[in-house]
Assembly symmetry: C2
């Protein structure tokens, strides 16, 4: 009698906490000029399997076409046996596995009604049929902001400033953003001597640097028979006597972290983001030295659709990423037939919500009315209404029948955020109850 495998019910205390975190995030993103939109949970099968969703496409939940009979299904089974892409005969829709593919579709659908530069907030569940494991769910919330129609460093900077501001508002100050650029990675691999056709595979290996270290990377590339001279060049670069401390962030530091002669325009874009983040940060640390950015030339990020800047959000309290994103200038063109620059940032809501420490709810007008079983229904209703009226539109009132474990009842009420209680006997006058603190 449980929820489906890998999914979960959210109980009151947890739900209240989640809604509160979402409300803070939503408010801060709106403050920065972003507007919330919503798309359906379902998208057409063909769009979810158009090759832009990367590995997530394989994890999609596919929805059965309505109205198919046994004969239809038998025939389709034969067709799928011949070519797996006949699956679309059986499934016309699927549950979204991210909010980016639906956003690109949304932008293509509604472009005429959107401003030239469109800043979107999306908050909603996504579904992935992953192998269930601790802390990973098959339905989870995503919390994305995206900017479409702006190819300048301003867009990246706005995403970062707004997200860092949201983290501050949640009490998670001191976050930083690791940043790189897919074009920088491509140039770097080219400069080492990797052929264009082997670079995607090399990136998949490099993505494991945090886990396996330089030795593991080099060993894997040798085993994969990547161009030997290029692997040697990469190895020499990884072993160069440079501390990994790239802070402070700026042109000199970025160039020092890369092979020589990195392209000026790419470096300038990275430097521009740093300047704008410094100037725009809420704490008014108007110097690039204070930018909470860290350049990491080996940051890869898995998604195949990234075309430029990529970034990940880090916080000193945890070893894992709290979010990330990047530029995907090509994706909207897949749907619209015309390229539109786009860049997005996704907060790892499920991880964030566990980190946030809220002080107790400041709502002091939360009262539990404990009543004996013999109090008439209409008297209870009158007591509840009188207390609610006294709160003038704020506060909360809950009725509880007296139970043997009175202390337990009061403790549970306090855990639910209630701060006072009163006992109600038959015949008591509404509005004249004595409130006692729950503590």
């Amino acid at each position: 009698m449980n929820p489906p495998r890998g999914m979960r019910d959210i109980l009151p205390a947890d739900k209240a906490r989640r809604e509160r975190v979402l409300s803070v995030i939503r408010d801060r993103y709106r403050a920065h000029g972003f507007d919330e939109i919503e798309t359906p949970a379902l998208e057409e099968y063909s769009r979810l399997h158009a090759g832009v969703g990367g590995d997530n496409e394989k994890l999609a939940y596919n929805v059965l076409r309505r109205g198919l009979g046994g004969d239809d299904i038998e025939r389709i089974g034969v067709a799928i046996g011949q070519a797996a892409d006949n699956m679309a005969q059986l499934s016309d829709l699927g549950l979204r596995y991210d909010l980016t593919v639906p956003l690109a579709r949304f932008y293509a659908s509604n472009r005429g009604q959107l401003p030239g530069v469109f800043r979107a907030i999306q908050i909603g569940p996504v579904w992935r049929a992953e192998r269930p494991q601790k802390g990973r769910y098959r339905q989870f919330m995503q919390c994305d902001i995206d900017i479409m129609g702006d190819d300048s460093a301003r867009a990246e900077a706005e995403l970062m400033v707004a997200s860092l501001d949201a983290l501050d508002a949640l009490g998670l100050s001191g976050a930083s953003v690791r940043i790189n650029d897919r074009r920088v990675l491509d140039w770097m691999l080219d400069s080492f001597g990797f052929r264009a056709d082997e670079r995607p595979g090399v990136l998949i290996t490099i993505d494991k640097l945090d886990k396996v270290g330089p030795d593991g990377i080099v060993a894997e590339l040798r085993e994969r028979e990547a161009t030997p001279a290029a692997v040697d060049a990469l190895e020499a670069f990884l072993r160069r006597p440079l501390t990994m401390e790239y802070n402070p962030y700026g042109e000199r530091q970025i160039r020092k972290a890369l092979p020589e002669n990195a392209p000026d325009d790419l470096v300038a874009h990275l430097v521009g983001i740093g300047e704008a983040v410094a100037a725009g940060s809420a704490s008014a640390a108007e110097s690039i030295d204070a930018t909470p950015l860290v350049f990491d030339p080996f940051l890869v990020r898995g998604m195949g659709y990234y075309t430029g800047t990529i970034f990940e959000l880090a916080h000193p309290s945890v070893g894992y990423s709290l979010g990330g994103g990047g530029r995907y200038d090509g994706m909207i063109g897949r749907f619209l037939g015309q390229d539109v620059p786009a860049v997005g940032f996704s907060l790892g809501f499920e991880r964030l919500v566990d980190l946030v420490e809220f002080t107790a709810d400041a709502d002091s007008q939360a009262v539990v009315l404990v009543h004996d079983a013999d109090v008439p229904v209409s008297e209870l209703a009158a007591h509840k209404a009188a207390v609610l009226r006294s709160f003038r539109g704020a506060g909360r009132v809950r009725l509880e029948r007296r139970v043997k474990n009175f202390k337990g009842l009061l403790e549970r009420s306090a855990a639910d955020g209630y701060t006072a209680f009163a006992t109600v006997s038959a015949g008591a006058e509404p509005g004249a109850l004595e409130l006692k603190p729950l503590s």
Copy 2:
């Protein structure tokens, strides 16, 4: 390039309005002691098709099992051709078509962690593969409150008072609730002489009273060959010289609207609800005469799972129902193996949201910064940060590049809720922009 058939994208202005309405409803329900919970969008196929979901079961979107190959599908197609209930071999999960079946499952799953009387708020989308038509969508929001573990009239009254309070807070005062009881209907049909086995069919016909009138009802029952003497008795009752005005609400009026000798306990339950609603109404109209209840002995409501009180929310501004609900004391037992009394109220959110008139957003700190193309990215970031800082955590700021249609840009900004603007030129000092009203 549109959303899936029968589904829709929600654009910024509409989304902001929806979130605002939801926030008011959530706050008022919380004020009345309800707690929000969340269940997954997917439930197991067998639970969604257990016979408790009524006609909605046929409208469920079913999710394909993962990992099936063409051979499996072919074999399952043959099995389904032999017996349709083999469909569960093809589909293990489905999207919920309401929030009531998942709530019953949730209660059975989590009962040990819930209070004896549990008041739940559920706000979330549901999916039904209905024939698309104007104003009806295949994904839509439901907004339910339910009370589990209380079989007294207090539960119904709490649902009604809280929902009427939420409507008041949305500016929709003057709503009323039509009320009846499935047991009253059953007794009434019995008293006319309908056999127990024909009563479910008779109820389906009576449910059309609003549409086809007494003549239509009688004609349809004769055509269906219902017990002739019973149809005659029903016809005589429908044609009795009684005005349909049942207000004011009370025992005398309820008895007058029914055949003679209605069972005392059922009438007392209905009267008790009225007394508690009168005593509990936020406006403190502490007289049953002022109860916003209307007894309607021919109210049926379609769902087969109702076992007692049923009700519908009406508002003078519209001819259709704005919500409704009822008692379903048997459903949790289907999942838990032990009956738990339960009663729920579902607000018709998609209808409500169109009726609510919000006065313009009171947020006067919403500023658009219109800039020329040559203003450096870091200057723009500094301007935005300075204005946001001046708002001390409130307010909103959006950057807009100057376009030829400057007036259009300002109009669109005003429509998005922004109230002031400033123009930004290169080299201007942050914090010294002149704000002008957008009007």
